[in-house]
């Protein structure tokens, strides 16, 4: 097997292996790039409810009274009073913030975005440990794909022809942008 055939086999097989991860990192990359404009992992919703005022007293009593007035028969994960006028009830999918004197309730619900949540967790390496190794291997695979990719074809469309120009553009793009970023 000559070197070009070996190169092409490597490029092909590493490419197949990298398909899944490339989709995960690519889709999540776009989502996370715009996190200033939206929450890429959670859909956060806010609704309002009005109940009768809840008398301030001991916390357990207030929680019982609030649950009854809200019509909830499920025990919350926990309850907390951030200030004397507010009682917060925490459930798996929602947080109820009750203004005790007025009975105004703000319900905040955070739901993980299907698929995108998992993609983002992997992309941002939330699991750490073994996933760090997988992510490192993927990074090495990307470098290998880039290097072997330059030598897949020979001739006019290869690295000595059009490939050289396109590779130069790809290398210049981050370099020029960095200079622009430094001196703008």
């Amino acid at each position: 097997m000559n070197w070009r055939r070996l190169n092409n086999v490597l490029h092909r097989d590493i490419g197949y292996l990298a398909v899944g991860l490339s989709i995960v990192y690519g889709v999540s990359g776009v989502a996370v790039n715009h996190k200033a404009d939206w929450n890429p992992s959670y859909r956060v919703g806010k609704t309002f409810q009005q109940i009768d005022p809840v008398a301030a007293g001991d916390r357990d009593g207030m929680v019982r009274e609030a649950l009854e007035k809200l019509g909830i028969d499920q025990a919350p994960r926990s309850a907390f009073r951030p200030n004397p006028e507010t009682l917060q009830l925490f459930f798996r999918q929602a947080t109820y913030s009750i203004d005790l004197p007025s009975g105004a309730v703000v319900i905040e619900a955070a739901r993980a975005r299907p698929v995108l949540f998992e993609f983002n967790q992997l992309h941002l390496n939330t699991p750490k440990r073994l996933w760090t190794v997988v992510a490192d291997l993927y990074a090495v695979a990307l470098v290998a794909l880039a290097v072997t990719g330059m030598f897949v074809l020979k001739g006019r469309t290869g690295i000595t022809g059009r490939g050289a120009w396109l590779t130069a553009v790809g290398v210049l793009l981050p370099g020029l942008y960095w200079v622009y970023y430094l001196y703008r």
Partner: protein, 159 residues
Amino acid sequence: MRRVFTIAVVLFACASLVLAAGVKKYGKDLTLKETTKISAIHAQPDAFTGKKVKVQGPIVEVCEMKGCWIALGSDKEFQTIRFKVDDGVIVFPMTAKGLTATVEGVVTVETLSVEQQLAQGKEMEKEMNKPFDPKTVKGPKTVIMIKGEAAEIQDAAGR
């Protein structure tokens, strides 16, 4: 093809079971044996400044944008303490609200000027998607925070 699909499903199911375990670790392992009450830190912040502590409490707030901090409720009412990690070191899930967290880190105490509070309030308004009323800032404020890299959350299922 069917075999590949079966293997993928089994691997995914195993991963889900691991994620659904009772206590979920975030970042490094906890090392301290003694747990400090959050109210004790509030009572004497200067005595704890620069010291490494382990505290426990219900998660009452989570950073919506980056998951880079959580606020823990104190053992005394109306008190919280924020546990902050460097961006990306740990990403806390928003669905962890209400669960009990044990965290470890170094206590920092900072006095924020009115200007700093106004700037922070505007930032938080965007980060937490909650309106900020500048009138709530009435003077310099002492902020107690724990900066660390280790946390455990009870019953966190991962999402």
